[in-house]
Symmetry: C3
Subunit: 458 residues, 3 copies
């Protein structure tokens, strides 16, 4: 083959990602992701503060991500990086001195970002500061107040029902002071500088599916891809929701044009169906790839059109940014009762679900990586596949699967259609089409025509 | 707010149309429209003549429309304004001198536009001049012969069955002479000279739903809008069907480019579902607005694609005119048995149906008037709504309705999408989207970008 | 009428094709096509050789087609014209001298294109050279080996089951030598040089539906059209599958731009539903015409999108050729059990099915021929049809069918829409629309605007 050493040959001969998929062993990968969640679960995270730093430090055991610190007061588009919030302890004590609500038992008990307070109050005075879920009386809600300096406690309805008319000592030992917003980033250099963005929010405290599942899946995915020759460069971002994504976008605005595809990862550990929420483009390559991969599983799944609420796709898909970034989930936010409650705990997320999420992410990446356009070098009539040993010898029977895939690739490799286009058109799986294209290219019947830009090619 | 006195401020602060809708009281409005129909019902109208003039004179009690007279013989495109037809009396008398068919009892008895005749004829001789509905034997059909000079009588099958072999005196005291074609017009000046055309045919004699319902609804609508500050100018036309619309178009050809939207009104008093027949464009703004309004009612309704038969949309949507004019009806022509018979009388149309038609027309106008495009002035990421008091203080819960509407408006106000586009995209009601846009604009987060052309702005 | 002697008048006054359709008598036409199949059935055809020549000679009794001979070794795109194959006899004899497999009984018994062989072999040695259909044990399969020089026999499973352990004499008296590839062609000159291609493969031996049905239908169709004044020129090609179509395309490459529409004909004699397989364009005029004709029959039918396997549409629709050629069939290849077996015999195809196929082909041609664009010469409002005698005199009733068709033609004859566009839009049949257009054109209300290019117009 004359292609050896050329970029095209590099692409045609790459095998690592395929091996990664065929050798993917769900059990250890699910356990690895679950173990990360277990380690991160107790930490009290918020949009700023030590919880975020501690989380990123633990993730560095899986992937050597870089920690970025952005000072309070920094203007980022229409926003300002807020003060840093830290908390040591918090409780409501009754007159007998017993902690009836105790931050040390569950960090959800504090309204996240509460300003410090130390007062004695009657139950009636205290009640406006208490948040419960009357319809889910055993669970503690997760509530926040990032941009209004107030305080409060979250507790189960049962806890509240047991609180008598008494004088309570209320104590939140937090600080809200100039400091930093912290986020993590990891980049894998591919054959080209075109990037795939993988983003997950890490601001939620002890909540597993939303979003330690996304945080951990991203980390394991990064570690898997780290050893693989890739077409695209991959940029992983772990940042607090909303303000973190806005900060990252503001600081990286000049580099956004490199991002060709992206996914927000969240809610990936529950046992529900997969859900893909399309980018604002609606029909971007990432949208079509994700749909193709989910459709080829044979299982049910959900597709959602873009909406301007949800996770950080809100920011990535704001009209002035408008990146082709979708959101990959199992059961979406707000669609499971445990959402934003203490029931989103270590029993709600599962290793097998995490492994399955990882596997589907790898399949999405496989299609993205292989979705080139080729040109049929014998476009007038079919080439004679038989004399190249690519066609059955005895005719009169139906085409074989490989023959069909080759005929589809030859017929539609007219410079307009990518392999994904051909897979969709033929209703064959992308991997069949990709294999056929590589076989034809090795036989000099196809030529790779997508631009291959890279500083990494010798 | 810095917008005071600017055209944009004028638009944002307008409240009258909204008040008109929220204060709309169906009972008196339905009674008002019904009373107009009652007053117009006895008159024998045709495409020309005193009946039309008398009708327009009565309508002037509701709205000070202008009466136009176009002389017979005037060439209007491929047509010529016909002679003026007037009729005083008509009957068929039996040999005993009894009027067995009597124009004074119902003006449908005369074939509309019949030439004068006075003869004595046997029943056999007379029969070819008689029109009945054998399958609806109690009803008199409505028949016309505008462009062929013949005569005839319409009667119920029962009447015909009772006519014996006898000598009959046939008498039609009509004239067909050079005169005028008469139509009415009323124009409301809006902020801009761009016009909305509201057209109804008034040539039918004693037929209520087709089309005194359209004629009366248009008059009451004009009187309601007359006191309101409006974006568009509104031109109401009451003209005879076909030849009247053709005449009006021929005389106003140079002004047609001002017409941005239009509706033909007919069959608006029966108790059936609403029907909207799309303009020839098929997806003109008026088509989308009418569909949006009907869809948001929660009731069933019918949508029809354009067909080149029906009412005067035939002319407005002829290929060389091609205005974006749809047709707003309840049960369409030909789809109710009373259509074009004496049973389309004062018992067939109802005040509540007329009021409901009026209300929906006002809602269509509300959407047309408010369907501007805005530009998000903070298009990179979301603006911080919280510090402007536009967002809930405690997070962790789902977005409220207003927040969702604001997020949709912000995300899609990229210069491409109108508020109707955003309403359709978000599946929210136009009024929610419009309210959110005004709220954001008052907070300087959006800017109105649709051109505002007007000589009326100070 | 001022149009006499003009090309437009020629078109408007043509009546022959319409007469052909209205006078079409299915019985004799079905018998004629069936008789051709009967005559051709015994011949052992292949992609080259005397069988093809003999077939074309017999077809010349129906239509004076021209026989082309292309020498072996000729390069045609990626292929080379193969050696010519001829066969006189073949058998497997048992040790008692009895022909247990006999080419003279059915020419399917020989693997088509087998090289000569004369050997004595045990059953065990022979078995790898034998092809059967275990699941259809009474039928002989049709198998080929065009491009690999091997030999073999095809037989029913029952025959194989009866073969004992014995020594067999194997004899194939074939030759594979330099010679020619043979195909037939017939062209009918129309008003213009723009061509319609009708192609059928004639390489299959004793198989009736695939494809003597296509071969015979094409011949009868050519004979029917030969006497008719036509807009398009029609080029009929009878050639061996794949290599024949490739050869024809390679030799005629410079003339392909004249081909505006085309059909591959196959499997047209079975009693199943019609199937139309779209061209690669997917929405070419031929695709829309075929669908319109099939839809207007009121019977079920099948539509298939283009796939790059099937018949010679594979070549006509290869990306570098990309002609608008569909495939017209009844039950498609591979979808009936008799396909490519000895059961595709003279009992499987029927005269009435062949006649029905012919009739539908004529209707497709009728639409292609008549699908002009016209321009409404009175595009502002409707023209007054009444004074031209084209409209009913007494109004108040619904439009008649002819009036509706005229209104559709007038409204959409804006220079953009063809008559087929209008037929689809109005959901009327093409013939109704075409008749209305001709009536309007004769009344000078429409003008034919499609270019009429021809050397044949005086």
């Amino acid at each position: 083959m004359t292609l050896t050493n050329s970029p095209a040959a590099t692409i045609l001969n790459r095998q690592q990602l395929k091996d990664l998929l065929s050798g993917f062993n769900p059990d250890p990968k699910g356990r690895e992701a679950y173990a990360i969640i277990e380690a991160l679960y107790p930490i009290c995270r918020s949009i700023t503060g030590e919880g975020v730093r501690q989380t990123l430090r633990l993730l560095q055991q899986t992937i050597p991500l870089i920690v970025h610190e952005v000072p309070s007061g920094k203007e980022v588009f229409d926003w300002v990086v807020p003060k840093e919030w830290n908390i040591r302890d918090a409780y409501i004590k009754d007159s007998a001195g017993e902690r009836v609500v105790d931050f040390r038992k569950n960090n959800l008990h504090v309204l996240n970002y509460s300003v410090p307070v130390h007062r004695t109050m009657s139950l009636a005075e205290l009640t406006p500061y208490l948040y419960t879920l009357p319809e889910l009386p055993d669970w503690i809600p997760y509530r926040t107040s990032y941009f209004k300096e107030i305080w409060g406690f979250c507790l189960s309805q049962r806890q509240l029902d047991q609180m008598k008319n008494d004088e309570y000592e209320v104590w939140i030992d937090s600080t809200l002071q100039p400091g930093y917003l912290t986020y993590g980033e990891y980049r894998i250099q591919g054959l080209t500088d075109e990037e795939v963005l993988i983003s997950s929010h890490l601001c939620h405290p002890s909540l597993c599916n939303d979003n330690l599942s996304g945080v951990a899946t991203a980390a394991v995915l990064a570690s898997l891809l780290d050893d693989v020759d890739l077409r695209y460069s991959y940029r992983f971002v772990w940042a607090p929701g909303t303000i973190g994504a806005i900060t990252w976008l503001a600081l990286n605005e000049s580099r956004l044009s490199r991002i060709k595809h992206g996914l927000v990862l969240s809610c990936l550990g529950d046992p529900g169906l997969f859900t893909y929420k399309r980018s604002r483009h609606g029909n971007a390559e990432i949208d079509r790839v994700a749909e193709h991969v989910l459709r080829s599983t044979g299982h049910d799944f959900e597709l959602m059109d873009f909406t301007p609420y949800g996770y950080d796709e809100r920011q990535y898909c704001s009209p002035g940014i408008n990146l082709p970034v979708g959101c990959f989930m199992r059961t979406p936010n707000g669609k499971y009762p445990q959402y934003h409650t203490s029931a989103d705990d270590l029993t709600f997320v599962r290793g097998p679900a995490l492994a399955d999420s990882l596997f589907h992410l790898l399949r999405i990446i496989e299609v993205l990586e292989g979705n080139y356009r080729y040109l049929n070098l014998n476009s007038k009539c079919e080439p004679q596949l038989g004399r190249r040993g690519l066609y059955r010898q005895v005719g009169g029977t139906n085409n074989t699967g490989v023959e069909e895939a080759m005929l589809w690739v030859l017929n539609y490799s007219d410079g307009q259609h990518s392999l994904l286009d051909i897979a969709e058109h033929s209703r064959l799986e992308f991997s069949e089409i990709n294999d056929a294209a590589k076989l034809l290219a090795r036989n000099n019947l196809l030529q790779l025509i997508d631009p291959i830009r890279s500083s990494h090619l010798g």
